[in-house]
């Protein structure tokens, strides 16, 4: 008996499967958020292991800011088609047209406005649970996040009013209009994610691997030069060998310098890096120590 312990990846996978099956068992209408990013790619593999040979008991959904890398949205569409699962895409641009998202300035990042579009989509489909790929190691505010996180009818997260979570007895009950955000890979770290991708040989969008890209250096960060994020006057555009550690809205995701062009090399690089994932790559968390917490209270993942 004592020698029959699971490896850490087996354990994390089993826990994630358990959580997804709880969502399927407890919620009437759930949805899995799939962006084409590495964390949600892992979640799709977990969902396959949880529910095959059946279909997923939930559709996939992406809240698209309209500012995503084409490699990633193409991958998103391809992966959903391969799995034969339904993919819903709702866009922040539609919310802007409806007037529910109003940017302060035309070039303001749309990233935080995803919350509005997400809440609109949850209401449109009457979803009572959205499964997301957030991890507790990403950020301080996430370290105390529940696996099943309760949101009121305004989508708000109240850190002082969360349900205690004991043993593996998850409580995903809601009244109409409220919803649960379920995080099956809460206990995974960035390293676990890469090790899982390596073990399961999961395909990833190409921009996760080392490639040459025009960038400018701005305030210590590497900022990719794109149509949406042009160089500012006086900035020097250089071609740099980079990869993305995390992928999201173009306006707030920065790549890191890297030669790692295989998953094995990325795993090794992750093992020896000295900068946290968000510290290196997120341009939106650095504004203040508490900015993630603020966004979560407003309905963000």
């Amino acid at each position: 008996m004592t020698n029959k312990n699971l490896s850490h990846l087996d354990w994390l996978e089993a826990e994630a499967i358990h959580i997804m099956r709880e969502v399927a068992g407890q919620c009437e209408r759930s949805v899995l958020l799939f962006s084409g990013g590495k964390d949600s790619i892992c979640m799709l593999r977990v969902a396959e292991k949880a529910f095959r040979p059946g279909r997923f008991p939930f559709p996939l959904m992406h809240i698209d800011t309209g500012h995503n890398y084409k490699e990633v949205t193409d991958f998103r569409d391809k992966r959903a088609a391969e799995l034969g699962e339904r993919l819903i895409v709702r866009s922040v641009e539609d919310s802007m047209k409806r007037g529910t998202v109003v940017l302060k300035t035309p070039d303001e990042s749309r990233n935080k406005h995803q919350s509005v579009t997400l809440l609109e989509a949850l209401a449109e489909f009457e979803f009572d649970c959205a499964i997301g790929g957030a991890r507790r190691d990403e950020e301080k505010a996430r370290a105390k996040e529940r696996v099943m996180s309760f949101r009121d009818e305004f989508g708000q997260w109240d850190p002082k009013n969360q349900r205690p979570e004991l043993w593996n007895l998850y409580n995903a009950r809601t009244h109409k209009g409220e919803n649960i955000r379920a995080f099956p890979i809460s206990n995974w770290t960035e390293m676990d994610v890469w090790q899982y991708i390596e073990r399961e040989q999961l395909e990833l969008p190409s921009i996760y691997f080392s490639h040459v890209r025009p960038i400018v250096r701005r305030g210590g960060a590497i900022v990719p030069v794109t149509e949406i994020t042009p160089a500012r006057p006086g900035e020097e555009i250089v071609d740099l060998r980079v990869r993305f550690r995390t992928v999201g809205d173009i306006t707030c995701t920065a790549p890191v310098e890297s030669d790692a062009d295989t998953i094995e090399k990325i795993v090794l690089e992750t093992a020896t890096t000295t900068i946290t994932e968000r510290g290196a790559t997120r341009l939106d968390d650095q504004t203040s120590d508490a900015s993630m917490e603020q966004r979560k209270k407003e309905g963000y993942f």
Binding site: R52, T189, M191
Partner: protein
């Protein structure tokens, strides 16, 4: 060689730390993260800045486990936070719960998933009321491995006599209270989290101590709930019936999906389905779509049976001959978690494994003082109270005593009006 070849062998250990900020608990966690090189440069820079801002000379490692904004403003931690580190051979999840009296509920929450508890004692102060409380709660929630960390040895000149006296005190206390009387594994380590003595590196200041360092102990602790064989318990979470599939082989497919909460199951085993009591043999066990010979504890598997039996979520598969009790009345230790007191008049929901039943309180036998373990008479329960209670249920539960099986002995109480989790119970 790929990087994970040397990581996965020794699995994953979940542990918790019990103590207050004054005992150096946050510093201990910070030290573990720091000495295992789990803290990256940008995080370190951030806490260096904060330490300087607060006028400290050295980096305050306790800042690593600092919590949410509101709590930071109050200067205290008020909830369970989870931290992660890996040694290259084992991955760890730390549940960090505060030691304040009013937060019994957080400690119980953190303890529920822990396989090891570190109970911190300030070497200058010895065994205190809070040490007794933490030990009692670790005992109650049945954490299999206990480490008593006598911290701040640097402040008592690494005095062996003082350490020995604290160990003797503690042993006398648990013997008197009947805690951990089941032969549970208890270890004592003298340490200084501040200086890193006996955490990851062996202390040069305490040559008299020949035992293991904290990390060595964590690396060796068995990760599984118990070391001995347990009966097979498989609460059904979800039934897979892919009828719409184009594949005719799947037309009769009925997969019972769930997590093996204890024991193991092999192809050919004779199982009993509860509550209907019907039996069938295991035709196949699947893990992530692949057939496997045996499903073991903590694996999330799918079981196919030879006969068609009506089974749905909330039912349980067990081995015939190891059938648990079916209970419509339960006697349990209950920790009340909600600001709204337990009402004897109301109907609650009880979630036990994957099963949910309406439940009503039948009585409160007594309340326990968490500091003295004294039994006190009580007519109602408020937040952080622990009591022995009875419930009657609309649906039977398939339960084992919590002391024998954490998974099938545990339940939560849900308030239907707001769906909050309001109680945590352990069946006697």
């Amino acid at each position: 060689m790929s990087a994970h070849d040397n990581i996965h062998d020794n699995g994953l250990l979940r542990f918790m730390t019990c103590g207050s900020v004054d005992d150096g608990k946050s510093t201990l966690i910070g030290r573990l993260l720091f000495d295992t090189k789990s803290i990256l440069a940008d995080t370190l820079t951030q806490i260096e800045k904060t330490s300087t801002k607060r006028g400290m000379d050295a980096v305050d490692l306790s800042l690593l486990t600092d919590g949410l904004q509101a709590e930071r403003e109050q200067g205290i931690t008020i909830d369970v936070a989870y931290r992660y580190f890996s040694t290259g051979t084992r991955k760890y999840i730390i549940a960090d719960a505060p030691g304040h009296e009013q937060y019994t509920r957080n400690m119980v929450t953190a303890a529920s998933t822990a396989n090891l508890a570190i109970i911190l004692i300030d070497a200058r102060k010895g065994v205190l009321t809070q040490t007794r409380r933490h030990s009692f709660l670790a005992h109650l929630v049945n954490i299999p491995h206990i480490v008593v960390a006598v911290n701040k040895m640097d402040l008592i000149d690494y005095d062996q006599a003082r350490f020995d006296a604290i160990v003797a005190d503690y042993q006398a206390f648990i013997a008197k209270m009947g805690l951990f009387a089941d032969g549970r594994d208890i270890q004592f380590i003298p340490m200084s989290a501040l200086n890193g003595d006996n955490i990851v590196d062996r202390s040069e200041s305490m040559p008299w101590y020949t035992g293991t360092t904290l990390l060595e102990l964590l690396e060796k602790a068995p990760a599984a709930h118990t070391g001995h064989a347990e009966p097979f318990r498989f609460p059904v979470q979800f039934v897979c019936r892919p009828q719409d599939s184009a594949n005719p082989e799947l037309h009769d497919y009925r997969g019972f999906m769930g997590t093996v909460e204890s024991g193991s199951v092999k192809v050919g085993d004779l199982l009993t389905a509860l509550p209907n009591g019907r039996e069938s043999r295991v035709k196949a066990v699947h893990l992530g779509g692949e057939a496997i010979a045996e499903g073991i504890t903590e694996q999330a598997i799918t079981i196919l049976l030879e006969d068609e039996i009506d089974i749905s979520r909330g039912d349980m598969l067990v081995k015939s001959g190891e059938v648990p009790a079916q209970k419509k009345e339960i006697d349990a230790m209950l920790c009340w978690l909600s600001e709204t007191p337990l009402s004897p008049a109301r109907t609650y929901l009880i979630r036990h494994t994957t099963r949910t039943s309406k439940a009503k309180l039948t009585g409160i036998a007594y309340k326990l003082d968490v500091n003295s373990q004294e039994q006190v008479e009580a007519s109602q329960l408020v937040m952080n109270d622990i009591a022995r209670v009875g419930f009657k249920l609309a649906q039977p539960l398939f339960a084992d005593p919590y002391s024998q099986n954490r998974a099938t002995g545990a339940f939560i109480v849900i308030d239907e009006s707001n769906n909050n989790t309001v109680g945590a119970g352990m069946i006697l």
